[in-house]
Symmetry: C2
Subunit: 306 residues, 2 copies
């Protein structure tokens, strides 16, 4: 099986590529630039262009059996600054990708949606996939619209798709400068002896899941015949204050967070119900949070300027 990983040089994408190679799949990566932290991997076929450059998609899809789509031009916290750009940069290129996949006969797609934004403010805890969908960020609205185009493509043209709705993913190779991912951001700050900032009072609860668990789930989704939307988290809630405590213990530093005003797009608590992914793919998150943070700290130390 040959897999095209769109966004395969990014944080999550690079782990998906590792997992696919490990499992004996043939991998092509499409991205706008090489990996930040590693040289090109032997055996991977790299193609460098933007998803918006849809005229090149036919070539890039040639010989490909399945696609993993991780590309995004926005993050939740900035998407509301220019929703029109979010739509033009993410929704439009993805529907063009679906057209190109139909033309090339590529009938399998794993898409990275968003467990943290598509539900809006949760009314259930943990949040199952059939929770009402009331996003309060353009990021979440665009992810949902893409899921609906996937479902339509399935119903009208036989696409097999899995939309993964990940919680807060963390682990080695997460981008240094961080709007995404407090764990990586905080560890980097600690390595730089810089203060860590908390938006709000630290009571915000999220579901942190290790990137290797997500890569494992993505691979299982790729080789399965299942279609639909699936939460992808640890199923367990951890507050920002707890994260700060664990980081203090892991790094052996005394942390004195700077508290800043809460942000209107931060919902108070999101923990995902992952029973559907567990039952469908026989998947189980395997990396405990403390161990995952410890490994991430080792990686951050190796990749910090002294």
């Amino acid at each position: 099986m040959k897999v095209l990983v769109i966004g395969g040089c990014g944080f999550i994408g690079s782990h998906v590529v590792d997992k696919c190679l490990q499992q004996g799949l043939s991998v092509r990566v499409m991205d706008t630039r090489p990996e930040l932290y590693r040289p090109p991997l032997p055996g991977v076929d790299y193609v460098f262009h933007s998803l918006s450059d849809h005229h090149r998609l036919a070539d890039t899809l040639s010989g490909v059996d399945a696609v993993v789509h991780l590309a995004s031009t926005t993050v939740p916290s900035t998407s509301n600054l220019d929703p029109a750009a979010d739509i033009s940069g993410n929704l439009v290129p993805t529907v063009r990708l679906l057209e190109a996949m139909r033309a090339s006969g590529t009938r399998k797609l794993v898409f990275f949606s968003s467990g943290g934004t598509v539900y809006g403010i949760p009314t259930k805890d943990p949040v199952p996939e059939d929770h009402p969908l009331n996003p309060i960020s353009s990021y979440g609205i665009v992810k949902l619209a893409i899921e609906q185009y996937l479902r339509m493509e399935q119903q009208l043209h036989g696409l097999e798709f899995v939309a993964l709705r990940p919680a807060n993913i963390y682990g080695p190779r997460q981008a240094q400068v961080g709007l995404l991912g407090v764990i990586g951001t905080y560890l980097r700050k600690v390595a730089e002896d810089a203060p860590i900032e908390i938006w709000g009072d630290g009571s915000v609860v999220r579901d942190f899941v290790h990137v290797e668990d997500i890569a494992d789930l993505c691979h299982r989704a790729l080789i399965s015949g299942a279609s639909g939307s699936f939460n992808a988290g640890s199923g367990e809630g951890t507050s920002i204050s707890q994260i700060v405590d664990i980081i203090g213990q892991t790094t052996g530093r005394t942390l004195e967070p700077v508290y800043k005003p809460g942000r209107n797009f931060d919902v108070p608590r999101v923990v995902l119900d992952i029973a559907r992914a567990q039952a469908t793919f026989g998947w189980q998150p395997a990396v405990p949070l403390r161990r995952g943070i410890g490994e991430t700290w080792e990686w951050v130390k190796q990749h910090s300027e002294p």
Copy 2:
């Protein structure tokens, strides 16, 4: 109250304008061209530009208290031919409209969504607003994404909005050439002594509602303080074959329909549950189908080339 009616020269828009004038509101119309069937109305302030021409929106919104947005560049049956154009032509300009309304302080919007496409294939009969949203046309996906941007604008910036999800609207001034609206299309064919075509076997059931009832509901939504999504139909189902029978009786002609293959985006039955709009706005559809078709036939005869 000054109302801007975007798409106010179209079929539904022209009736909304009539209703608003009748109720003493001040009306500005924005459209790309004048009404097809009537001269400009006295007292109405016309502005001719596309919604995509967002640089002109600040001027067009000047002095406006509320907006009715009826513009669309696509119809359900053609939207899947080019979803990217559907998104760029409808979703992007509407989020730019929301930004312009925020800048101008216009905090009331009635948006025409779609009762026939947002639900996909109904699993309930009649279909309530909280039915699952699984559209199988780009038209429906874009309408839903717009509804979600409206809800977000309400939550983050205090917009009052009503998203109307109309059933199949019919009545005088419906466009002659018809992808939309079988009643208008069939009456026109009868006036031209041309055969009428049925896609499928005539068993497809829709909820037909008179345009004056919709204009009445739109006006009630404008002056109310309610926000949310509301079905807008008659609440009753009529098959295409029954429509053909009524048209035969109304026009006194013997009709011999030409049957053509069904279309994959036509869901078999859509009848809307209108209890929410009835309870919220004190609204009641008032034009019975036979009378409505009779009046529409009179209009079609007056506007046909002999």
